[in-house]
C-alpha cells in the first residue's frame, strides 16, 4: 500500500499552459481537502454528487489508495514520456462540423416521457439556488 500523501503538495500544482492561475489557486484549497482520509472522500463525494455512507467511505478510501499505489508505476516512464504530447484521443480527427440546419428531433412528449417530474411540458427539478 502506498504511503498516504507521499505526493508532494507544492510540486503537484498544475503548471500547464492552460488555466494555470485558476487551477493553482484552487489547488491550495483542495490539497487541504484531501489532507486526511475522511475529508478526502467526503470532498470527492461532494464533487461527484454521490451519497456515501461512513462505512463505504472507509472502504472507498482504502481502495482508492490501492488503485493509486498501482497506477503510480507510471512514474517509471517519466523519462520516456517527458518529450511527448499528451493524447486525449487517437482518431487524428479535428473540428468535425456540419451545417447548422434544423432537422426533425424528438417531440416534446417523447423527450419528457422518461422524466419523473414535469410541469407545463417542462422538466421539473429541485430548487437550485434556495436552501429548502
Amino acid at each position: 500500500m502506498v504511503k498516504k500523501h507521499e505526493i508532494s503538495k507544492s510540486k503537484d500544482l498544475i503548471i500547464s499552459s492552460t488555466g494555470t492561475t485558476a487551477r493553482s489557486e484552487i489547488s491550495s484549497a483542495s490539497v487541504t481537502y484531501f489532507s486526511d482520509d475522511k475529508t478526502r472522500i467526503k470532498h470527492i463525494a461532494e464533487l461527484a454528487a454521490l451519497d456515501i455512507t461512513q462505512d463505504e467511505g472507509v472502504k472507498l478510501s482504502q481502495q482508492l489508495d490501492e488503485t493509486l499505489a498501482y497506477i503510480n508505476n507510471l512514474k517509471d516512464l517519466d523519462n520516456l514520456v517527458s518529450q511527448l504530447e499528451p493524447s486525449s484521443q487517437i482518431t487524428g480527427l479535428e473540428n468535425i462540423s456540419r451545417e447548422d440546419e434544423p432537422s426533425p428531433s424528438l417531440s416534446q412528449d417523447e423527450a419528457l416521457k422518461n422524466a419523473k417530474a414535469t410541469q407545463n411540458g417542462l422538466f421539473k427539478v429541485k430548487g437550485v439556488l434556495n436552501n429548502d
Binding site: S30, L74, P86, S88, I90, A115
Partner: protein, 489 residues
Amino acid sequence: MDYLKLKEFLIMTELNSLTIKQAKEGLIKREFSSFDLTEACLAQIEKVDKKINAFIKPIAPTYDDVVSAARKADKLLSSNQDLPLLGIPIAVKDNFSTMGIRTTASSKVLDDYIPPYDATVVKKLKDAGAVLIGKTNMDAWAHGSSTETSDYGSTKNPWNTKHLPGGSSGGSAAAVAADEAIAAIGSETAGSIRQPASWCGVVGLKPTYGRVSRYGVIAMASSLDSPGPITKTVEDSALLLRVLAGTDEFDATTSLPPVGDYTLPVVDNKIKNLKIGISDEYFIDGIDKEVESAVRLSIEKLEKMGAKIVKINLVKPKYATSVYTIIQRSEVSSNLARYDGVRFGKDRKLFGEEAKRRIVLGTYSLSSGYYNQYYNRAAKARSLIVNDFEKAFEKVNVILGPTSPSLPLHAGASENAAMFGEIADILVEPSSIAGLPGINIPIGFSKSMLPIGMQIIGRQFAEDLVLQVAHQYEMATANENWRKKRPNL
C-alpha cells in the same frame, strides 16, 4: 403441430446452433423460415437461460414483438429481398439504446428507462433485416470483466456455470456460446468484447476506435468505447462488421476511411510470408500455463502455414493498465455525471459499488492539484503506447498473443478486488488505448474443459487483414476435435 411439440421439434433441429452464414443459406433456400429460426433461439433461451442468465429479464422485446419481426422478415424473404441479415435473430448488449425497449446497462439507475430512439448500431441491424431477440446482461455501465457487477445478477459461463463468462459483454458472449442467438453485439472499452469471447469460446472483434458509431451507446469511456460483433465464426464477424461499420453524422468521432468489403472471398496464402509479431511481454508473470502453451502451439501452427514469426518488444502491459485505469475512470466520472434522475433514469443513490469506486478515482484524478499527477501523466504515456505500436507495425503485419492471462475464473472472483477488471484485461488494454482493431478466436480448451482464446491485433483500419488471418487459422484448424464440443446445459 401444437406449440409445445413445435418447440420440441425446433430444439431437435438445432437451428439455433447455426452460424449467420448457414442460417442465411437455409432461409434463402426456404429450408426453414425466420420464424422457425427465431423460435428455435427463443426455445433455447427458455431452456438454458435460467442457468446462465445471459439476458436481462423480463426479456425485451416481448415474445409477440420478436415473432412479428420474424414474420415480417419472412414476408420480405418470400419476395426475394436481399438484406445482409434478413431474418437473423441477434442479441444486443443492454447498453445499446433500443427505441421503445427498456435499456438498463444492467444498472438500477436505468431500471425503467425506455429510450425514445435507436442507437446507430441498432438502426443498422434493423435496416439490415435482423430480428432483435433480446438485450443481454453485462457489468453495470460496462464496468468490469465478470458481469458480477450487474444489478440483475451475474451471467454464468455456459461451459461451466461455476465459472465467470468474463465481461463486460458477458451476456452477449454467453448467449452466442449457448446458441441462444445466432450472433450478438457487444461493446469494448478495453477487453469487454475480446475477454468474454475468450472465456466463452467464441469469436469477438473489437474494431478500430471510430470504425463503428457510438451514438446511442450508454457511454463508459468515450475516447475508447468501440461496439463490435460477437459470433460463432470469423466469417460471421466479417459479415456483421460490414453492416455495423461506417461514418455516422450523429457521432463526430466516427472514422472517415471507406468501409472495406470484409466479406471478400479469402485470398489464398494470406498467411504465407505474413510477419506475425510476438512480444514476450504479453506472456506475463503468472500467466496460466495451459493458456501459454495453447497460444504457443497456435503460433507454431501459423508458422507451419507459412507465417514468419518476428520477436518484438512492446511496452510492458502493466503500464497500459495504469494508463487505462486513469483515463477510463476519469471519463467514467464525467460520463456518469449526467445521471441526475431529472430527464430519465433514477436517483444517483442507486449507483452500485463499482460505479462509485470508478467515479471516486476519476473525480480525484481530474480534480485540481491532481490532474497533472494522474490524467496528464496517463495521456502522455498513452502517446508512448501509440508510438510503440506504430514502431512495431513497421516490422510486422499483425501482432498475436493470449487474450486473457487466465482461464475463466470462479464465480465470486471479482468481489472486493478494486481493480479486477483492469487486471483481467491487462493483455487487451494496450491495443485499446491505441485504438487498434483486435479479434479473439477460440483455440482450444483446458484440461478442465474451459475455453482458451488468442488475439490478433492489427494497425488502425486493418480489420480486413486481422479477419483474414483469423479466418485462415480457423479454416486450417477446422477439423480439430475440440471444435465439436458444445456446452452441456
